[in-house]
Symmetry: C2
Subunit: 504 residues, 2 copies
């Protein structure tokens, strides 16, 4: 059995290395590749993907897992294995099942269909004409149903789709948490809308891009992001990717007349980056050195961006630092005004521009529509209408066009149905973790006020980062907080914070 | 047979794509990888190299080549094949022979030995202590002899080593050309040393690095290097690499107090880059879309750097442009003084700092020593002494230390024996090509004086670049110039140019 384990680990290390190589190619493509390099690059990524797929579906993996006693009924394998190894074989089994259950011709059909759908979507959004995109989305919904059938599920086909991004999460569980969220947030947003509006004109002043970049770098340093183990570059769509355990790359973008894009974008990506840099050394070179799920990943980025980065305590220390860098732009703006400006709440049409309170409502909208589409309760043709209805119910506003409504996000055109919920789950997990952190570090706010972020990062390293993919999101949540997923801490946090800011 | 050809082309395309992926990883490692990313990167490159090696040695290739009638006796295969296809199968056969003749354990032994040797070499050079490096170089010479035996040769084991970098070149051929060079250059250098020295103090003025970089980019544009198909970045050791037919990356380095490093370095790399961007579209995705040899590659980089970039005609147009960018630094320096300064000749100890005249002598020195080492006529222990003797004979100066002598270059520590001659062959080929170009474009100097580099690049595209690897260096030389390799055009060029500059 020891021999089978060694052999499986060798395969795992090979796959991990090749996936790292894929990440290098993708990062370069987004960040530095010259415009016309795209054709050869797609040959290279396709060639590498074919090899990785072949390795991921090698029947030898199935044989080795058998020898180690791993099965659907017993995913952790033989009790004789060490605990870390049992966690590892579970994840190898999970990936192997997924890779082998989807036939190669289905996978390549999805690649073909979504490749076309993405360019049609871009055109449809430009023209604000949903009918162009409709037949492609119909095909994608059909293919997603086939994926769900192939992967298998118990209660709802949407379960199988969500599970790809958020292991072991179910539609019912999301629905339960989102119902709590909706019931709390809709009235909160209504109350805020009725309150006196905040002046956020300071956010619109001119902040030269090169100085924004220098400030982003200084912020990364304050957040303890280690530049000998990573980089910050620019890209059109900000992202974080790990090219190796000591090579994590962040990107951001700069808007001279709206500095929060870069500043909070950088803090957000740093949250992802610190997670990727924090996996236990024990897991190096294995697939356990990755995030537990997209939701957990997002809990880390949103924790830093919002819970820390938009807190009064953080800016108590950092606002004087920022003011020294941008004295003209910030002159006459006191800490409290700045703090309110960066926390202004306003229902808006576009998800990626949404504030901390309304953001989850944008996600709930998408979840409701996806669930109905996949459940057969909503036709693609009726989607724009359903979008407008949900938008009215959740946000109290209705998009003026499909471009600002149902066509705003790229996700569906790329075949990613079941992905959106993870964004809001990140908020939910994040505040559950924060509650526990506040118990463990009672002086947390005082530390932030002094600019001391060391204990906070150390807590995350110990309880979340280091754990990596050795726990499912559900297990992690239970182990860290002692409770299953719950929206209450997030609701309490928002209610308290915005009751104060808006004097409700 | 058509089917066999299609199958072989498919394999070739797969290998080409994966080699492109390797190039991405290597470029990133040299240019942007954070310091501590090196461990994971070496796993990734090793993983990819193992796959490429496996593909390169797949016995299926041998079977397909057989079916196409390709053999050592008939490298172009069946006469029924199209001409381009015959050239392609010849190169596939060549690479397959090389890959299969070197056993895997020999290849990995060389990788191990040279990996250690490189770090020992760096230490030995730092301490200027050859004895530290000696046992490692002895091992490398032994392994190189084994490589030569495995690869096979007719007259001299060094032939087999050279052939890796310069296909079908022989030791005897190099010796013939280098003898002519030596006999002409040694007296020329002596005459120059006796002439009145040139004032090159303008080269040592302060040129701010960011403005040097902007000027390098402007120079690339003038050289018709297409930035939608490439990039210029910084690295410690300047290089050019092709990540795909429309993705060629150059690097350079900047020295505030010696602008020629970046300026002529950029022009040199642009020469490599224009070659890589100029392969015929017919060859895309095949291994014919690469340089014919290192010598031919170097002929292109040195043509642009020296024949164009250090010519009076080129600066007639570009010196006013440069003066407008750097008015303070260049004030009081007229065109003629500038032209002489960038062409100053002075025997020096370090190859990479050598001028256009003495450079080839540094190469001849290394060739003589390598040939004797591999021929068993010189022991590694006697190398420092032999170096000093040759240096005295060729350059008239003797290194003050091994660091500035036998230990100055990294090549041997990496196992690259037989590589050095290609640098000087580049000079030789380059001036043969130039002679033909001057016949085809009689107005060449006038065009350069007007800053019009279009016809020169078009000539190179047609006669050299587009041909790629479809011809051996020998075939290319014959086809372009109608003659075999000859040092005479290079000797004539240097004699004429420096007789004028130094008023000999």
């Amino acid at each position: 059995m020891q021999k089978a384990l060694e052999q499986l680990k060798k395969i795992d290390a090979e796959i991990t290395a090749l996936e790292g190589a894929q990440a290098v190619l993708e990062w370069d493509q987004q960040v530095y590749m010259p415009e016309r390099g795209v054709h050869a690059r797609s040959e290279q990524t396709a060639g590498l993907a074919a090899i990785v797929h072949q390795k991921n579906t090698d029947p030898v993996i199935g044989d080795l897992l058998d020898k180690l006693g791993v099965s659907d009924e017993n995913p952790l394998g033989s009790a004789d294995l060490e605990d870390d190894d049992r966690r590892l074989v579970r994840e190898i089994h999970r990936d192997f099942q997924r890779a082998t259950r989807l036939p190669a011709d289905l996978v390549s059909k999805i690649a073909r269909v979504t490749s076309i759908a993405q360019s049609v979507w871009a055109e449809a959004r430009r023209k604000s004409q949903f009918s162009l995109f409709q037949p492609h989305l119909e095909e994608i919904v059909k293919l997603s149903l086939e994926v769900a059938e192939r992967l298998g599920y118990e209660a709802h086909p949407y379960d199988a789709l969500v599970d790809q991004y958020e292991p072991e999460m179910t539609t019912a569980e999301i629905a339960r948490v989102f119902r709590e969220l909706r019931e709390a947030l809709v009235p909160l947003v209504r109350d805020i809308a009725a309150a006196r509006q905040i002046d956020n004109s300071v956010l619109l002043k001119a902040f030269p891009v090169d100085r924004q970049e220098a400030f982003s770098r200084a912020t990364l340093e304050a957040l303890q992001f280690d530049m000998s183990r990573g980089r910050l570059d620019r890209s059109v769509h900000p992202f974080t990717t790990s090219l190796g355990p000591d090579d994590v790359r962040l990107t951001t973008r700069y808007d001279e007349h709206f500095f929060p894009t870069a500043l909070f974008g950088t803090i957000h990506e740093a949250g992802h980056g610190l997670y990727e840099l924090g996996f236990s050394r024990r897991f190096r070179g294995t697939r356990l050195a990755s995030g537990a799920s997209l939701g957990i990943h997002e809990s880390m980025s949103r924790f830093w961006e919002n819970v820390v980065g938009r807190s009064r305590a953080f800016w108590h220390h950092f606002y004087p630092v920022m003011k020294a860098e941008f004295p003209d732009q910030l002159s006459g703006v006191d800490l409290e005004s700045f703090y309110r400006a960066i926390n202004r709440v306003e229902p808006s049409l576009i998800r990626v521009e949404a504030d901390e309170v309304t953001y989850s409502l944008h996600i709930i909208l998408r979840f409701e529509l996806e669930r109905m589409l996949i459940g057969g309760e909503l036709r693609v043709a009726d989607l724009p209408h359903a979008w407008r209805e949900q938008s009215q119910d959740l946000l109290g506003i209705v998009p003026d066009s499909d471009a600002n409504g149902v066509l705003q996000d790229i996700h569906w055109s790329g075949g990613a149905i079941g992905y959106f919920p993870t964004y809001a789950l990140g908020n939910v997990y994040g505040l559950q973790f924060t509650s526990r952190m506040r118990t463990d570090i009672p002086a947390m706010d005082n530390l932030l006020r002094q600019g001391d972020l060391v204990p906070v990062k150390a807590w995350l390293d110990e309880h979340i980062h280091s754990v990596g993919r050795s726990r499912t999101p559900g297990e992690l949540c239970e182990e860290v907080t002692g409770e299953p997923m719950s929206a209450q801490p997030f609701i309490d946090y928002l209610t308290r914070k915005y009751t104060d800011i808006y004097d409700l």
